[in-house]
């Protein structure tokens, strides 16, 4: 035996990421931005100064002031409170959609890559067809068919992200299934399900997670776009996208209506992209041994 040393897990994406994040400012900033936005959305019921739905006919279209930090909309509703509450819906919809896509997509990718052959070619051709739709068009189609609701919105956005997750999970599966520990599993009589779930999945998880953080940003944008064209959650429930749209009618005399929710989206997307880039660098084997 070699000298006594601490038992360590193999450095996974996460451990590597934290080690790197401390050195990489951009990643740390990204993580903080995401954290702040998520926390403020979750804490909305406690930190929002007003009820996001309460109308006040006297305080219509107030510009930002001490009473209304970010101003009010044509119904006298407080913009700051609506952004905080709207963040809940926007983040919930996009996170659920990405989780769904991760689950379904990586299952398809792993099974397809593991089974291989003609099955793999057919499944991946199907994924390519899905991939060829821009996510907004796809979301439009699904919501237009099923009608706008939170669940349908999640389905629509999730569906557009399945194909990229299937691709990202399949590629490492093709490599790992040829590794000898998979063969050893078969020699020991493990079922295919066990080999895929216990031996392949944990080895592709880091790639999938990185993809997840990058797609979360896209999902937030898609949700906002769908809300903007009126296919999002029904009013009066605030979401960032629908707030931008409502503000659009008064864009010249009350620009704060659209500008502030846009900034909220901008901040989250920026944070997620910085975070995703950092995660991707952390899992890139070419950068590992620097």
């Amino acid at each position: 035996m070699t000298a006594v040393h601490m038992t360590t897990r193999p450095p996974g994406a996460f451990a590597l990421f934290w080690g790197r994040a401390r050195r990489n400012k951009a990643t740390a900033i990204g993580a903080s931005l995401v954290l702040i936005m998520v926390a403020s959305a979750i804490l909305a019921p406690w930190i929002a100064p007003y009820d996001p739905l309460e109308q006040d006919i006297i305080a219509r279209l107030e510009p930002p002031s001490e009473t209304y930090w970010l101003g009010t909309d044509p119904y006298g509703r407080d913009i700051l409170s609506r952004i905080l509450w709207g963040g809940q819906v926007s983040l919930f919809v996009s996170t659920s959609a990405v989780l769904m896509a991760m689950l379904v997509g990586s299952t398809i990718g792993i099974v397809s890559g593991y089974v291989g052959g003609r099955f793999d070619r057919v499944v991946m051709a199907g994924m390519d067809v899905l991939l060829s739709f821009p996510s907004l068009i796809m979301g439009l189609l699904v919501v237009a068919m099923l009608g706008p609701s939170v669940i349908n919105l999640i389905l629509a956005i999730g569906l557009t992200a399945i194909a990229p997750f299937a691709r990202i999970a399949r590629a490492p599966t093709l490599v790992i299934k040829e590794r000898e520990f998979v063969e050893a599993g078969r020699a020991m009589g493990f079922s295919h399900g066990r080999i895929m779930g216990v031996h392949i999945l944990p080895n592709v998880a880091s790639e999938v997670m990185v993809m997840g953080s990058l797609w979360l940003a896209t999902a937030i944008r898609t949700e906002a776009s769908l809300s903007f064209i009126g296919l999002g959650v029904r009013p009066p429930t605030p979401t960032w996208g629908s707030m931008i749209r409502e503000g659009f009618e008064n864009i010249l005399d009350a620009p704060w209506l659209s500008v502030f929710p846009s900034i909220a989206i901008l901040v989250v997307m920026l944070g997620l992209n910085l975070l995703g880039d950092g995660l991707r660098d952390a899992t890139d084997p070419r950068l590992r041994h620097e």
Binding site: M1, T2, H5, T7, T8, R9, P10, G12, R179, E180, F181, E183, A184, R186, A187, M188, G189, F190, S191, R194, V198, H199, P202, N203
Partner: protein, 325 residues
Amino acid sequence: MTTPLLEVSDLRKTFTVRRGFPRTETVHVKALAGISFEIAEGEAFGLVGESGCGKSTAGRALLRLIEPDGGRVAYRNEDFLAASGARLRQLRQKLQIVFQDPFASLNPRRTVGQTLAEPMQVHRLGSRDAISARIAAVLDEVGLPRAALEKYPHEFSGGQRQRIGIARALVLEPELIVADEPVSALDVSIQAQILLLLDGLKERRGLSFLFISHDLGVVRHFCKRVAVMYLGRIVEDGPTDRIFDEPLHPYTKALRDASPVPDPRAKVTMARLEGEVASAINPPSGCHFHPRCPHAMDRCRVEYPELKAVAPGRRVACHLHDQAA
């Protein structure tokens, strides 16, 4: 005559590869062109040959890690290739494999304890306590400390990982282990340790081995009988000592002469083979070895020699010995 533990007859495997664009051409690689051998209980049987001769394919095909195209594999007279479902899983317990690359053969995200417990859990071999007891016993047997259980493969050296790989094969109490180049990836000093370990297992457990290697020295040490493969076929088999002392097939002879003898006084005859190993995609007509054979005759170019018994327990596929007989 007693029935052998494992009986392989006429095992065949052809790989089909499509290549080229835009006009694809289909290429058939005969990795196994019908090989037959038997392994008795407690016997170590060697399979030697150059890279690409099909010896690893043979090991994998008989375990059905690659489905063979044809032939028969009988384990204690039961047809292993026909088994399916629960019976196949039961039989798999008895036939295990140890791989060459100790870095690729262990899942990097599972601790040694998890890796060793998993096969027993899958086959429902006893309670949690019984499983840990057996794991502890196997760890002792392969010479790993108990502390290894909580560790991950990347924390071990190549030799230790190979011990883990051997332990994993042992937990299911197999009767035969296919050892596919089990020491080729290791340092020479470590090779000796692992070989000693395998020797011990052979003695104590009465394990049978199919020992696949290109290293004649190692095979000579470990195996009682050996088969020499060339381009998917067995060209000669028999007792190890006699094969290497007095090889009958010109290829075996060349192979022996090419491997170093650990004796400084031994006279060195650098008899080397001319030419490259022929392609398995388009093997030469007749005897596949004839383009490189110093004794090639006209007959060798047209007719593949059958593998025939020339002495008790010895077979060779060569026209030279056909004539002599």
